[in-house]
């Protein structure tokens, strides 16, 4: 005979493997989500469509245009002579930048007079627009620099005296500066937050809806036996999910991983135990599966997306943001994940975040236990 806890775990496992929807929710949708975000969510600003209105049509203006379109950052949409045409392109989203070269561009430059080039940037995505402006400024400066060099040369000053101090920089942890190295491990954290919690949320509310909860209410089973028995199979599912996503991140997305496999696995096990527990807690305090699911969506994925440090570092949030961040288990696991993938930190460096996870997990199960009454109403 099995212990009560194992009896519940075995029952949950049987229900889980026989329900096609649970299987899809457990394995297929998380992987699908990883694909969508892994390929779709890129923070790299490259191949920006650009339009030039060239009223000058001179060699110099063509040099100026070439300066931009030979870089990997900009893709030429068209060189136009009509303002209206260019405006249409930016309105319809086919272009995001218009550069307006005035008719007397080459004439004035040759006379060494100052001239302005008009630049219009699509500001509907502010962070993109800022990056675009930075690119434009630096390419523009480069063009200016070359012009000045030519002028100095022609005046007989010669040599590379124009830019006396050069900067030599090194990027640590993500040398190629590709955002995929940050998105995919981040998605690992979010997926392992959302799906285990969602499945946990259905566990007790589901039995409340069907009426089978009375089997547990009216038997001598202990509350902790119910909670742990129900959590176990779903922790196993979530951990298998972790292994799948981990493999996909390395094999499919080619993300750099230099940390300890075992350390991350341990952290993932803790984290999934914790997130299943969060779902269980929501399931305990609600009466229907729908309510439990909505609460889970609101309190896990939405907050984790914004505050776990997925896109914005926790350190650059305001005080409120930092407090919220530290109330989420995702924040601690995010640190462990980023630290393992990119920085290769050892156990010693991760101990703080790991203990955060342990405390959080214990707290959430205690909370669920205390709120789980073997009574209705």
């Amino acid at each position: 005979m099995r212990s009560r806890m194992m009896a519940i775990a075995v029952k949950e496992t049987r229900q889980l493997v026989r329900d096609p929807i649970t299987i899809v929710l457990a394995f297929v949708i998380p992987l699908l989500m990883l694909q969508l975000f892994g390929y779709g969510l890129s923070l790299d600003v490259k191949h920006i469509p650009i339009v030039f209105i060239d009223y000058d049509r001179s060699d110099l203006s063509r040099d100026y245009i070439n300066q931009f379109i030979t870089s990997e950052y900009f893709d030429l949409v068209s060189v136009s002579t009509e303002q209206k045409h260019a405006d249409e392109l930016i309105k319809s989203g086919q272009a995001r930048v218009i550069v307006d070269i005035p008719p007397d561009f080459s004439r004035k430059l040759r006379r060494r007079e100052q001239i302005s080039v008009g630049v219009t940037v699509d500001g509907s995505l502010p962070s993109h627009a800022e990056v675009i402006i930075t690119y434009l400024t630096s390419l523009h400066a480069q063009f200016n620099g070359e012009l000045m060099q030519q002028t100095l040369n022609s005046m007989g000053a010669g040599g590379n005296t124009l830019i006396p101090v050069q900067m030599a920089y090194t990027v640590w942890f993500n040398p190629s500066l590709e955002s995929i190295n940050m998105i995919v491990p981040g998605m690992l954290v979010l997926i392992l937050m959302l799906f285990p919690a969602l499945q946990g949320a259905l566990l007790i509310a589901g039995e409340k809806e069907s009426g089978s909860i009375f089997n547990l209410y009216c038997s001598p089973v202990k509350r902790w036996e119910v909670l742990i028995g129900k959590a176990l199979p779903y922790v196993v599912v979530a951990f298998i999910n972790y292994l799948i996503i981990f493999a996909a991140s390395i094999i499919q997305f080619d993300v750099r991983f230099i940390g300890s496999f075992w350390l991350l696995a341990l952290a993932a096990l803790l984290y999934t135990f914790c997130t299943v527990g969060m779902g269980l807690f929501f399931s305990v305090i609600t009466r229907t599966q729908l309510a439990a699911m909505l609460l889970t969506l609101l309190l896990t994925i939405t907050s984790a997306f914004n505050y776990s440090g997925f896109l914005t570092p926790v350190a650059s949030m305001d005080t409120t943001g930092q407090i919220i961040a530290h109330l989420l288990p995702a924040t601690y696991f995010m640190d462990v994940v980023r630290g393992s993938y990119l920085k290769g930190l050892d156990f010693h460096h991760q101990i703080g975040d790991l203990s955060g996870l342990v405390i959080y997990t214990a707290a959430i199960y205690l909370l669920a236990w205390s709120r789980f009454k073997k009574r209705i109403g």
């Binding site: 005979m1 099995r2 212990s3 009560r4 194992m6 009896a7 519940i8 075995v10 029952k11 049987r14 229900q15 026989r18 329900d19 069907s210 009426g211 089978s212 009375f214 089997n215 547990l216 209410y217 009216c218 038997s219 001598p220 089973v221 073997k374 009574r375 209705i376 109403g377």
Partner: protein
């Protein structure tokens, strides 16, 4: 054993009250159940039965009073009683896990209750045998019929051999055959293990199977006692009167000051009055009616319920004046007939309906009875034109179901207890919504609102929100919505499941008026004998086949001829009487405190049984009785001899 333990009743409820916000669900209820007794809490939905049971099961807190299981306060120490009880919540096997097989469900309950292996093995085997589920061990619970689910739920409740069983509406929605088996198991447990049982039901016909009953209504415990003594205490006389125009006689009797209450049962009138039969004879003679006949009958529990409800309200119950019914005029353009010939429906290899033939005349009520899965629903769907037929033919209200099903829908009205009105709409808005769905013109709608509003006494409620109405009014509203488009045929699907007896009586008064005065016909699908009693003819279905269609009287007579009359043995030691009688009459079974069996040779069998009991120093009174509708139905379902005789 210390004395205190001997006297402590296994179940004791003392002044228990429970409120949900403003609603008092249970009002100072007190009763006790002694060891080895079956106690039935009887009442409609919302009477407070579930709350009482849940307080006893230790899953619900009360506002005041106390509840004890074996002397332990379940409100203060709920965890201490959980090993002692077996609790089955309301709903057909809702505590089962659908994706788990029968065997896996049983194993889960073993582990949950930590039943020792030796107890488990013998108990499981015995329970599986009793319930005939041993052949279905590997079938998932989701694929069991309603009756089988309920039996599996019972196995899971009984697995740890609890001495006290708390069963909440265990037979609601279960077909009569499964219900009989279910009761046989309960009575067997009581006889062999002295189990104490508290169960609830909304069906009066189940009360007789209990040793003690408590009548509940809106949180009050109206009365308490054995089914026999309770009805014996009723004052006045009860008569059954037959006359060719019962509605006409009803209206006469309702104006008679001596009549306490009247109700229609099919074409019979039940009259409750203080006068003796001589005075009734005089009264009926005064009315100058020919061919009127009456006989005195014993009051049943429904009469008892009506008596208490009248006492409480200190006024005549609304169904005692049926004058408003004269406004109920349905101008159907067709005659509500059904001619069904060799009608069949297949789903792949499965024959859901198998060559069914029957007729329904205008103004007739035909009841369809059959176990779950007998094909009743499929048959009704085909007759309504909702499901294509496979073979055979049927004409409903004069139209062919295969080619003219769209017209048929315009001439039938459908109503069930579950049929949803929109609860947040007012009564009038619900009516208007249904009128819109049926495409009634504004002029017709106005006329219908007037006639149905008056005829079903709905006019005072027109502006009220439906959810705030008493159940009886909601039921009349459902009926009004089904009648809006002047249908010729009403389809009623368990129309009075779980309602108060007064509401049920009123509903049937309306249906009888509609069929007898307006010539509307009705097809009723039900599991309940309370409803079957109101039908002119009954059709028994099994495995897709219509076994027989006939009047209740003729069905009974034929069953008695082939399978025998009922013999009832009543004695104090009913468990011993049963085991003794079984040596001679193996089909004998327990029915409450009585032993029932059927006999083709009653005088001889009576003598033999008396002799047998005498030899074993047992005393019992043995009487013969005519079969009830439920027993008749069971005979047709189980007796091969009877099936051959048809």
């Amino acid at each position: 054993m210390p004395l205190s333990e001997v006297t402590t009743p296994p179940i004791l409820v003392d002044g228990l009250s429970k409120s949900y916000k403003k609603i008092e669900a249970v009002k100072r209820v007190s009763f006790s159940v002694s060891k080895g007794q079956v106690f039935g809490l009887i009442g409609a939905d919302g009477a407070g039965k579930t709350s009482v049971i849940q307080c006893l099961a230790g899953v619900l807190s009360a506002n005041s009073g106390s509840a004890f299981i074996d002397g332990i306060d379940t409100l203060k120490h709920p965890e201490l009683i959980k090993d002692k009880i077996g609790y089955m919540p309301q709903g057909l096997g809702l505590n089962l896990y659908d994706s788990l097989s029968v065997d896996e469900n049983i194993s889960f309950f073993r582990d949950l209750r930590q039943v020792p292996e030796s107890t488990f093995r013998s108990n499981k085997e015995r329970l599986l045998k009793m319930t005939h589920l041993d052949k279905f061990l590997n079938r998932p619970a989701a694929k069991l019929s309603g009756g089988m689910r309920q039996k599996l739920a019972l196995i899971c409740t009984l697995l740890h051999l609890p001495d006290i069983l708390l069963l909440d509406e265990p037979t609601t929605g279960v077909d009569p055959i499964s219900r009989r088996e279910f009761w046989a198991i309960i009575h067997d447990l009581v006889a062999t293990r002295e189990v104490t049982v508290l169960l609830s039901t909304s069906y009066m016909d189940e009360a007789e199977r209990c040793h003690q009953i408590g009548l509940m209504h809106q949180g009050d415990l109206l009365d308490l006692g054995t089914p026999e003594t309770l009805t014996k205490n009723l004052k006045g006389q009860y008569y059954q009167i037959s006359y060719h125009d019962p509605n006409q006689l009803m209206s006469h009797l309702q104006q008679w000051p001596e009549a306490e209450s009247t109700a229609l049962f099919g074409r019979q009138i039940h009259l409750h009055t203080a006068v003796d039969s001589q005075q009734l004879k005089t009264k009926l003679a005064q009315l100058e009616l020919t061919d009127v006949a009456f006989e005195q009958i014993a009051p049943n529990l429904e009469d008892l319920f009506m008596h208490h409800l009248r006492d409480k309200s200190h006024a005549k119950a609304p169904q005692d004046s049926n004058h408003h019914l004269q406004h109920l005029v349905i101008e159907q353009s067709k005659s509500g007939t059904i001619e069904c010939q060799q009608l069949s429906r297949y789903f792949g290899d499965f024959v859901a309906v198998d060559k069914v033939s029957f007729d329904l005349k205008a103004g007739e009520i035909l009841g369809l009875l059959g176990p779950n899965g007998a094909g009743k629903t499929t048959l009704i769907k085909m007759l309504c034109g909702l499901l294509p037929i496979s073979e055979g033919s049927a004409r409903v209200v004069g139209f062919d179901v295969a080619s003219e099903h769209l017209i048929i829908k315009r001439h039938i009205g459908y109503m069930s207890q579950q049929f949803s009105l929109y609860p947040d709409l007012t009564v009038l808005n619900n009516i208007k919504l249904y009128a819109g769905l049926y495409g009634l013109s504004a002029k017709r709608l106005k006329k219908q609102i007037d006639s149905l509003g008056e005829g079903l006494s709905l006019t005072p409620y027109f502006g009220r929100v439906t959810s705030s109405l008493p159940r009886g009014v909601r039921q009349r509203l459902s009926l009004a919505c089904a009648l809006l488009h002047n249908p010729a045929l009403l389809i009623l699907d368990e129309p009075t499941s779980g309602v108060d007896p007064n509401v049920r009586r009123q509903f049937w008064d309306h249906v009888h008026y509609l069929t007898q005065q307006n010539q509307i016909s009705a097809l009723v699908s039900t599991h309940y004998m309370d409803e079957a009693e109101h039908c002119d003819r009954l059709g028994f279905m099994q495995n897709g086949k219509m076994i027989i269609v006939d009047t209740p009287a003729r069905l009974k007579a034929q069953a008695e001829t082939i399978c025998g009359q009922l013999l009832v043995a009543e004695g104090v030691e009913y468990a011993n009487i049963l085991s003794t009688l079984r040596t001679q009459f193996p089909d004998a079974f327990l029915y409450g405190r009585y032993v029932h069996w059927q006999s083709l040779n009653i005088e001889e069998d009576k003598r033999q049984a008396q002799k047998l009991l005498h030899e074993n120093q047992l005393e019992a009174v043995i009487e013969s009785r005519s079969l009830s509708i439920e027993e008749t139905f069971a005979n047709y379902m189980t007796s091969e001899a009877l099936k051959h005789a048809i």
